[in-house]
Amino acid sequence: MRLTVNGQAQEAAPLPGQCLRTLLRELGWFGVKKGCDAGDCGACTVHVDGEPVHSCLLPAFKAEGRAVTTVEGLAGTCRPGGGAPENRHPMQEAFLNAQGFQCGFCTPGMIMTAAALDQAQRRDLGTALKGNLCRCTGYRAIRDAIAGTAHAEAPQSCEAPVGRNLPAPASAAVVAGRAAYTLDLAVDDLLHLKVLRSPHAHAHILRIDREAALAVPGVVAVFTHEDVPAQRFSTGRHQIRADDAPDTLMLDPIVRFVGQRVAAVLAESEAAAEAGVRALVVTYAPRAALLDPEIALTADAPLVHDPGDREPPRPGEDAPPIHAHPNLAAEVHGAIGDVETGFAEAALVYEEEYVTQRVQHAHLETHGAIGWRDAEGRLVVRSSTQVPFLTRDALCDLFGLEQSRVRVLCGRVGGGFGGKQEMLTEDLVALAVLRTGRPVKWELTRQEQFTATTTRHPMRVRVKLGARKDGTLTAISLKVLANTGAYANHAGGVLHHGCNECISAYNSPNKRVEGYSVYTHTLPSGAFRGYGLSQTIFAIESAMDELARGLGIDPFEMRRRNAVRPGDPMVSTSLEPHDVEYGSYGLDQCLDLAQAALAEHSGEAPPDPSWLVGEGMAMAMIDTIPPRGHYAHARIRLETDGRYALSVGTAEFGNGTSTVHGQLAAQALATTPDRIRLTQADTDAVPHDTGAYGSTGTVVAGQANHRAALALSVMIREAAAARQGVDPDACRLAMDAVETPMGRVPLSDFAPIEATATADGSPRSVAFNVQAFRVAVHPASGEVKILASIQAADAGVVINPMQCRGQVEGGVAQALGAALYEDYRFAEDGSVVTQTFRNYHIPACADVPETRVLFAKTYDRVGPLGAKSMSESPYNPVAPALANAIRDATGARLTATPFAPDRIFRQVMQAVADREARAKADRSEAIAVASL
């Protein structure tokens, strides 16, 4: 058939069941993204004869004779693989100027949708954009873009760029739909990989008959547990690999959750691979499954890693289990002082159990990788990962390869949120490349993303706090049960971290923590924004609110009285020395800023007078870097054109560190960020980089970069001084030249010259976030409407206020999803019911209020140029702040997220009725007293 795409007549032969999105990508239009593949997310939006449609839902044959416009051709005609049209479409320009994106994966669809809106639709973006999901921004920046509000400054005019609103270096490519994400490249001779997944929560695979699958035309190979390395590993990646228990096989004869890999099929097309998967015949011996973490440690619980099958995995070295139960994956215990004495001294003791649910990262780019052999025969894997170096190391371990024989790199990565601190696709892709010698692609479907990747750890937290009449805490006790699922990736780290900053943020002479992370036959939990803290902070900050209420103390004041301040030891449950210090301290400012803003900022009015209005707040502290070493290398070279080439290891997945790298280097080299060319996320680029996790993009990789840039600045000035016969101290870098007492010397005279530097992630500092809400709650339906949202953040020196604001807004939005809507539902057999975005609701534009973001003014002596991390932590105080506001409005203390109307309405109605009854009793008492 013939169709016109972006003004080009194209010939195509779509398969009968093919959707237009796939056809367009096959034709080279990689700006058309595959986000959900089900019409929910809108990332694939194109115009067909001028009408916007989700191209994943449109049968390709329907495009015959039609004119299709993709984001690449929105501004004018263009050829696939050719250059972009000369000018940007006004909507592309608007998204660039407002920086209406972070990872940018949703951006092509967002722009194509926004460009098709009429005036009336633009006035109601909540409705107009309900078919476009963005997981990064929280939508404010998108609303600004559509309204034509500009924020970004021109890079070439930003001398001394630290503190300026620089746009992301990839902006032009992102809005043009030309930024190449992981799978946005055409590869010749490509094989496709698909996986058969377990229908059983626990079973022994007795037999896999691959004959019929191999007979499917196009199927090249089938891999089963008989074909993979015998070595066990953890999908969770850390600098210290022993942190995580090696309990995972690439393909395992025992399946431990519904959705676990059973076998992989490699074929000439995705359709053939899928047909091959359907043709596999597997005989299972189902076993009893453990789905409930509450009974995991009982004597007769089904065992997830049964010592009867094989030697139990070596425990992870981060928080290893102490008690002997095979279902125990990690354990933490610690105490200072004596909590019982503390509770005895308290005027008020509050104890309650808080439950946080399983949630998905829901980055719009699913996990995926393409592997091939390069000209030197090396294994190359291009992957959607936050940890290319650690993945390279893991592949080397698994396949017994030297580091020099494996290269892992990233394209632009479409979101991560911790979900890509795992090796979930690269191992099978590598196996397939090594066995066939051909390029191999594996892209997870959205369904697989929900059923077979990782999630936040569900937790039950029993918290007990005691305080004196004046509010001073006397004791803190935490008992945590985390569900790590079938594998222990991140089990110890999340438990350990989750029990740390939430209580080291408070002074109390008596603290005790007891934590268990247990295996179950459910999909694995893993690293998730906040890394355990969002769950424990929900418990502690809710409990702090109850104490404050019980003692009649303002909740902000309650924190001021108890939170640590410089000079106080930061102690969770051990008095052992550590490397966390007060590089700066802005919690006091954050509390003041949020409280003042809440008082002055009335926000929206409640929908009608029957709604109940209340206010609430919560705070969060986070160490700026994970413990025990986080390493980065940076190399910067002055090129012969007088510009700089900067190489760092960390990936860009919407975290904005690429922008910050340019700003830090340009600041050190007295130039503008447009003169810094960045190479990143490639094991060929630098010797090592631990990865973009634990909020380290700016404070570790940025630190290495800044040190390298400073070193290069010294080298250039010394070279200039030697040439001119002057004192290096009298020389000064100035854009494209060195100014010396003997005149200007062009920079290019000294090229090439390069410097390298490293950072080791120690010492560490602390960052703070305070969230406040005013909410309205419908007293009968349980609906919650946010009237005002404020977050005050202590990020040290804010390198890029526009971007950092975006990180905070995005964190609040993602946390609102977990606080209000998101939840996994499981069937009785342990399978995941919520497999699509329409059944797992992440915040859409209409769901996210504008959050007023305020920054403390601090300068951190640990971080680069005074900066601290600010990416995970905005997420952490949101759920308790919202719960506290709902408590204030209604009297209902909610102890489980999400606060969806159908889950809270009974408790809200009961609390309102109780309160009214009490008020009535008080009134009659008052009347009785008055009449005496």
Binding site: Q18, T127, S781, P901, D902
Partner: protein, 271 residues
């Protein structure tokens, strides 16, 4: 998404040359649901768009919608001014979980045939006494009310090879006063309860309840009911087990908010 099991597309130009129905066949209307989930059991798609049915017909009898009328075409309809129920159309279009881009492809008939409890076209056509015209493989026609067409979640009266041809709503129903209420777990989420009240010329209140129940429920309440009567009528018409349970709302909440919304409607239409 790609439906990799599909081996052929059939585009019949006339209704009398429809192919013989086989296992693995599916009618293709807008495709917005069909292409949104894996369909491993399907082999052929028979494209109804090829039949080029007129999307809508307005006459003295009322409004007839072809099954292939898109939500966008329905939303754009200009209707006689005496049909004061017509604002319901826009309300129900907006109740669709899918965005305006989905409206460009999704069809009224597809929404009925999907038979999801939250299907807003079911709510609209049921509330307006819609009648489905169904064509069987031997070209015979039968008619069934929308209320009886939808039997339960993703279950209709359609037999093997039958096609939903059109939905007709009588002018009398389109002339009624109406009130619309909807609630969901998130502001624009899938409906947890969708309740429509209509008042006929004799002031008889009829409630149509969808989304909160497994299939649409219509209750003829009668003139000027009290709040208690309304509650009793609803309780009597809907058994406990018929309140729908899925991730878009727990059944006890759906029951509770249905009663709240029905009461709001009662008050609005009593004014």
């Amino acid at each position: 998404m790609d439906l990799s099991g599909i081996t052929s597309i059939i585009e019949p130009k006339r209704p009398d040359v429809l192919p013989d129905w086989q296992d693995g066949d599916a009618w293709l209307a807008g495709g917005t649901w069909l292409f949104s989930e894996p369909q491993p059991h399907l082999r052929r798609l028979i494209d109804l768009a090829a039949l080029e049915w007129a999307p809508s017909t307005v006459s003295d009898e009322g409004l007839a919608l072809a099954a292939t009328c898109t939500i966008a075409q329905l939303d754009r309809l200009e209707l006689p001014s005496g049909w004061i129920a017509s604002p319901l159309i826009g309300e129900c279009c907006r109740a669709l979980l899918g965005s305006f881009k989905i409206w460009n492809r999704a069809t009224v008939g597809g929404n009925l045939c999907m038979a999801l409890p939250a299907g807003p076209m079911i709510a609209l056509t049921a509330a307006l006494d819609g009648v489905c015209t169904i064509v069987s493989p031997n070209a015979a026609e039968r008619r069934v009310s929308v209320i009886d067409f939808v039997l339960g979640p993703q279950k209709t009266t359609l037999g093997r090879g039958e096609i939903l041809r059109s939905i007709s709503m009588p002018a009398e129903a389109l002339g009624r006063r109406t009130a619309f209420r909807r609630i969901s777990l998130s502001p624009n989420g899938r409906s947890g309860a969708l309740v429509i009240g209509t008042l006929d010329a004799d002031q008889n209140l009829t409630l149509t309840i969808t989304a909160s129940t497994r299939c649409p429920v219509q209750i003829a309440i009668g003139p000027t009911p009290s709040a208690d009567t309304l509650r009793e009528e609803i309780a009597g018409a809907i058994a406990e087990a018929d309140w729908y349970d899925d991730v878009h709302g727990a059944p006890d909440w759906r029951r509770h908010v249905t009663l709240l919304l029905a009461e709001e409607i009662r008050r609005e239409l009593a004014r």
